[in-house]
Symmetry: C2
Subunit: 143 residues, 2 copies
DNA sequence: GTCATAATCTTGAATGAGTCAAGAAAACGG
DNA sequence: CCGTTTTCTTGACTCATTCAAGATTATGAC
């Protein structure tokens, strides 16, 4: 498991200042994959009760820009963040309860990166969201 | 090009009541692929100046549920709609200007539909967004 | 260690896409 | 043409996110 000094190192190597809020946000995102902003704020405040929501928003933006966290936002849901970056994995989202799980990509390291017709765009990333029902929602038990 | 009676027929076969706002919304989405809600409202009002924004929101929801239009919402952007449905095509989004283009799927009719590990989810759709730069943004001309 | 400077955080207000609710109007089956 | 049910209008409201100004803090140089 990642420690505080790991997070500090990550910040430094991204040329970012090491501040308590940032370390806490990085830790919260790492500990709660796919959490929305409110959840992250709550998690951060468990360690630093006084951080403002704004500091968390700022940190998330900065960390996202630096590539230390990734922002995802499936149709109609709030912004969510995850610390697993750089491995081009994808997500499975439950249509019913909104649960999100990771899905490794079927085809190598940077897959699907080729659209059949790229319309002249220079593509650098393919983001895939699988929609379906999670195990809990797909076996309806009327209780 | 699709006509008003085409739209009426589509509504009827989806078991939806045929109302002027709905026909106009369907037409606007068909005429402005990937438009956001404001654009659609504006387009609708060119034909029916008095429609409320609420009627447009309602229509879009209803049409989306009926599968006559599709809602897409790339990271951080507003909700956008398109009338091209049922052919499992994907989208290319420009990181710089936000332009969206269609991209046909490389691998058959319902491609990518298999994650390497589906985590127990029953997947019914794979949504792919290619991120990159559009032709205009990738050839920077400093004028 | 101390200082200066620039980045970051706090506080509190504002923005704006989208939703809610109640009554008026329109669509459809008979 | 009528009654019922759905849909539309109007207008207020929510709430995630952003903006702004001043107070704090991190960092590199001395």
């Amino acid at each position: 498991m990642a420690t505080t000094s790991d997070f500090e190192r990550m910040l430094r190597s991204a040329a970012l200042r090491v501040t308590r809020p940032r370390v806490a946000v990085l830790g919260a995102v790492d500990a709660h994959p796919h959490a929305d902003t409110d959840t992250i704020i709550a998690a951060v405040r468990r360690h630093l009760p006084k951080v403002s929501h704004q500091a968390v928003y700022d940190s998330l933006h900065t960390l996202t820009e630096a590539g230390l966290v990734r922002r995802i936002q499936p149709n109609g849901s709030l912004a969510r963040y995850e610390a697993r970056v750089g491995d081009n994995h994808h997500h499975v989202v439950c249509r019913s309860c909104g649960a999100i799980a990771d899905a490794d990509c079927a085809v190598g390291a940077a897959p699907c990166l080729t659209a059949s017709d790229d319309r002249g765009y220079s593509i650098d990333e393919a983001e895939v969201i699988y929609w379906g029902l999670c195990p809990d929602c797909s076996t309806p038990r009327d209780s």
